[in-house]
């Protein structure tokens, strides 16, 4: 039970928060601080239990290095999201406590996915996570866009869940089990079964929807644009990482990937990279731009999954860490600046930010350079890893598509740097932001730089997971 400590802590935190929030309707600060310290305690618990292993309730939940790794990632993503959303919510006069609660429940769902030993558990986790996110996307209930975002996400998400469930059912029909370990074991014997492969394919569709891979990406731009900005950041990192934890667990293995599944994943990856990067170029809204960039990054990570070798698995996990920090950071900068009149959502609003808010602009520049994969920032190493994995797996064409689309990516990421630094127009006024949130962003930027220069110990840690 000791190894379950982080999840239990988090669930306990959720319950405590429910009470605190209902007692203190008028003062939101209590809920906020309880969440911050609670999440910090959970992160501490994760570190304490880092080396423990256990299996709970008949292999339903398997706690080990893999789940601890992802657990930490989700907790950090949640913590950054909560820290960065306080002022944003206060400006919009929305309750912080309820927001924190939903973030925590979503995080529990994510942790369940990463520690699932059974497809039913994956499904349960995805549902818990998604339902919380549906609500979070519509958290600004008086804004039309937020409602639209929530509804779209919900309808399409429900559809994707159907695929997922149907896939699980077919796999069960063919193999007689929903335990992931058993399914993987039976895989070679089932290689002739059409029902089994249909199930695997449907499972992939359901998960590809959650990671926002082409052609299951249609919801992404609208949902990210309409959702409260910190929520978009959380969805693009935590939720994506959670779905990837399931994908890597099931699909990044050579014996699950027959040639046809490998080809399907490769094509999905290539299509995501191409579509995401090219469409992002023409966006004028920064959140939409980041939404398409998120599709593109799903493509890069899927390239690592398609490679299905040690390098690929390590690469995807490393990429997820880096992506979490840089993307939460980028959305974080936007949420600190964004004001009620939808200011700071178009590129033009950022002109001269380097003069008015030099530190924020520098942070944003770091995140943008890292997202575009330029060394010495960590985004480069993530890309390097997945491309190296692809070349090793004889998918050189995928790596070439990856690098070519990265060039396109450079263009739109640097457009933001251009307006922030090179534009001589009069800058527009910005909101003041608290030291805590700026410090949180600073930490994210430091991690992005640090992991780009000294990645060795993190990679060694990830390598041990497989």
């Amino acid at each position: 039970m000791f190894s379950l400590l982080p999840i239990l802590c988090l669930a306990g935190l959720g319950l405590v928060l429910l009470i605190v929030d209902s007692l203190q309707r008028r003062n939101d600060h209590a809920g906020y601080w309880v969440t911050i310290f609670g999440l910090a305690a959970c992160i501490l618990a994760s570190f304490l239990t880092l080396d423990s292993h256990s299996e709970v309730s008949g292999n339903m939940i398997i706690i080990g290095g893999y789940s601890h790794f992802f657990g930490l990632l989700f907790l950090i993503s949640a913590l950054l999201t909560v820290v960065l959303s306080k002022e944003y919510l206060q400006r919009a006069q929305r309750p912080v406590g309820g927001f924190c609660l939903l973030v925590i429940f979503a995080t529990i769902g994510m942790m369940l996915i990463a520690s699932a030993g059974n497809l039913i558990m994956v499904f349960l986790g995805i549902e818990l996570m998604s339902i919380s996110l549906y609500v979070l996307a519509g958290f600004f209930r008086d804004r039309v866009k937020s409602n639209e975002s929530s509804l779209k996400y919900f309808l399409l998400g429900a559809f994707a869940t159907g695929f997922l469930l149907y896939g699980i059912a077919l796999i069960y029909g063919a193999s007689g089990t929903t335990s992931i370990a058993l399914i993987l074991e039976k895989c070679p014997a089932l290689s002739a079964s059409k029902i089994f492969w249909s199930g695997i394919a449907l499972l992939f569709v359901g998960l590809a929807f959650k990671v926002a891979a082409v052609p299951f990406h249609m919801w992404v731009p609208d949902v990210y644009e309409g959702a409260p900005t910190p929520v978009s950041g959380f969805m693009s990192t935590g939720a994506k990482a959670a779905a990837f934890s399931a994908i890597v667990m099931i699909f990044a293995r050579p014996f699950v990937q027959g040639d046809s599944i490998k080809l399907v994943i490769s094509i999905t990856a290539a299509a995501s990279m191409i579509l995401g990067n090219i469409v992002a170029v023409s966006q004028t809204n920064i959140k939409r731009m980041l939404a398409y960039s998120s599709i593109a990054h799903a493509g890069y990570m899927l390239a690592g999954v398609a490679a299905a070798n040690q390098l690929g698995r390590t690469g995807v996990l490393f990429y997820l860490i880096v992506y979490t920090f840089m993307n939460v950071g980028a959305f974080g900068v936007i949420s600190l600046l964004e004001s009620e009149e939808e200011r700071f959502l178009s590129f033009g609003d950022y002109s001269g930010l380097a003069k008015t808010r030099p530190f924020l602009a520098a942070l944003m520049a770091v995140f943008m350079f890292s997202l575009s994969g330029i060394p010495p920032f960590a985004g480069f190493l993530g890309k390097y890893y997945v491309f190296a994995a692809a070349v090793n797996a004889h998918l050189t064409w995928l790596a070439i598509i990856g690098v070519l689309t990265s060039v396109v990516g450079v263009y739109y990421y640097l457009r933001l740097v251009v307006v922030m630094y090179f534009d001589d127009r009069e800058p527009i006024a910005t909101n003041p932001s608290s030291i805590v949130s700026v410090a949180a962003l600073g930490c994210a930027a430091v991690v992005v730089i640090y992991l780009g220069i000294f990645p060795s110990w993190v990679i060694a840690f990830i390598d041990r997971l497989f």
Partner: protein, 531 residues
């Protein structure tokens, strides 16, 4: 001298200075400028130590230093220099303080950021010349784009955004394909018995060059060469250059022309030739033809420019064409000439940009037609201008002559190129004389027609201090090039042997009956690139 971290100090001293600057208040401008200058000067002094201690009889890597970096990918932090890189390291550490000093008064806004970026840029450039691991090299190669991008974009001229973006995207496009090449090379090393594992260590990879199948070598060679050709820039990949040069501030242009372009030619000689010998031979004539086109085309376009800075920018295309020609002629003389010509071009074109910048600071225009008779109002500047122009033309006694002569001599005697390459290339020298002297005549001689020129002040002490060190080196290399040539000879010989030798060995092995893999004729690779 191995396993001494002194090279690491040289590389990271500027970075350390840059980080230190972050703790200085932004309004203490003089302190910031002095700190920047101080750090670049200290770096220069340490690099002079390298130059003195460098053993010119040894062709192996010196000041070699290695530490594990990313163990699971077998990437190491490995640095070292040989005769090819030593002079370029010196050029970098020499030109950076010069450029900083030249910007003392012309950069007024965001001085702290400017100094920060310049120091960052210096670390990036030094890293490129010293890295002996391909991934480490790539990190510096790409990372150095960021400070240059900001220097052009923030302190540039009217079209700065366009120029900065074009510069970035062009370079990025080439280098990302090179990245795939690097990964593929590392992967290939793991499939053959010799290294037997994924590696990007340059010295190890040197030994596997000939084992790579020719068709794949061709692709890899193209990926690497495209990246370097864009940087050089080789015709027809040169279009980013005039934009970037014209829009960049003077200090940026000096570094851009002085050092950045050399990274391309350095890459050709350090990576392309020795790593892919057969493919290099197959493409030798084509690249030499491109180099020739560059020489002539650059010179012709220079001739018709109305903007002095643009003229100097296009002259770079022409001069770098010589360097590429020298590299692909693949004789010891021509390779040595190419190295020394890289330094020469850095000095003379750097100085030309400095002088253009000094004129621009006074008149805020660079149109040739705006000037005339500067000799009367600015005698000191005109003298310096004359020396530098003549050096750029290649007048005997000045530095340009040494490099161009060696390159032409080498390509004339080259076993691999017809002598026509040297003959056509030599016309470039004549063209250079035409466009530079004609420009000089229109700007400096004649009457002072334009009243705006009448009261121009001559160079200040600071400006003279900027130019004099460059002029001293111009004479030094011109009169006694032995100091510098001696350092390069062993390494140039080694580079030629590594490429030509491997190729010939392979060919000999192939001609034996039943021995070795399938026969590879020099012409066979030619068809490879048309696939």
């Amino acid at each position: 001298m191995n396993n001494s971290p002194v090279l690491t100090y040289v590389i990271f001293l500027p970075l350390f200075g840059a980080l230190l600057l972050l703790f200085v208040r932004r309004d203490k401008i003089t302190l910031i400028k002095s700190l920047g200058l101080l750090f670049s000067l200290v770096t220069f002094v340490v690099s002079v130590y390298l130059f003195v201690k460098f053993d010119s009889t040894n062709s192996a890597m010196q000041f070699w230093y290695s530490k594990p970096w990313i163990q699971s990918l077998n990437v190491n932090y490995t640095v070292g220099i040989d005769g090819l890189s030593l002079l370029l390291v010196m050029l970098t550490t020499f030109l950076t303080p010069v450029a900083m000093l030249s910007a003392w008064n012309s950069i007024q806004q965001r001085v702290r950021e400017f100094t920060f970026m310049m120091l960052l840029l210096e670390t990036g450039m030094l890293g490129v010349f010293c890295s002996l691991d391909l991934i480490l090299f790539y990190v510096f190669w790409e990372g150095m784009l960021i400070p240059m991008y900001f220097i052009i974009g923030i302190w540039g001229g009217k079209n700065k955004v366009y120029a900065a973006m074009k510069f970035f995207l062009y370079t990025m496009f080439g280098s990302l394909l090179m990245l795939v090449g690097i990964i593929w090379l590392g992967y290939y090393a793991s499939t053959i018995p010799a290294p037997g594992r994924f590696t990007t260590d340059l010295i190890q990879l040197y030994s596997i060059g000939t084992q790579i199948p020719v068709a794949i070598q061709t692709w890899m060679f193209l990926a690497f060469t495209l990246s370097f050709a864009i940087k050089v820039p080789l015709f027809p990949f040169h279009t980013w250059l005039p934009d970037a040069h014209v829009e960049a501030p003077t200090a940026g242009s000096v570094i851009l022309a002085g050092v950045l372009l050399k990274m391309g030619t350095y890459g050709l000689i350090r990576f392309c030739l020795p790593l892919f010998p057969q493919a290099s031979f197959a493409f030798m004539p084509y690249l030499s033809i491109l180099a020739l086109i560059g020489i002539i085309y650059g010179a012709l376009v220079s001739m018709v420019q109305t903007d002095i800075k643009k003229l100097v920018a296009y002259s770079s295309v022409s001069h770098l064409g010589f360097v590429v020609l020298g590299i692909f002629a693949l004789t010891v003389e021509s390779v040595q000439g190419s190295i020394i010509q890289m330094v020469n071009h850095g000095l003379s074109t750097g100085a030309l940009f400095l002088i253009v910048g000094m004129i621009y600071d006074r008149r805020h225009t660079r149109e040739i037609s705006e000037f005339g008779g500067l000799a009367k109002v600015m005698p000191i500047l005109s003298t310096f201008f004359m020396i530098v122009s003549l050096s750029s033309i290649g007048l005997p006694g000045l530095n340009g002559f040494v490099g161009e002569f060696l390159i032409l001599l080498g390509s004339f005697t080259s076993k691999f190129l017809s002598e026509w390459f040297a003959i056509i290339g030599a016309t470039g020298v004549i063209f250079a004389a035409i466009y530079l002297l004609w420009m000089y005549q229109r700007v400096v001689f004649g009457k002072v027609d334009n009243p705006a020129n009448r009261n121009l002040s001559d160079l200040s002490i600071r400006e003279i201090a900027v130019l004099v060190p460059v002029i001293v080196l111009i004479f030094w290399i011109g009169v006694y090039p032995g100091t510098f040539l001696a350092k390069t000879e062993a390494s140039a010989r080694q580079a030629v042997l590594r490429t030509a030798g491997q190729y010939q060995l392979r060919n000999l092995a192939v001609t034996k009956p039943g021995g070795g893999p399938q026969a590879i004729q020099p012409g066979e690779g030619n068809t490879g690139h048309k696939e």
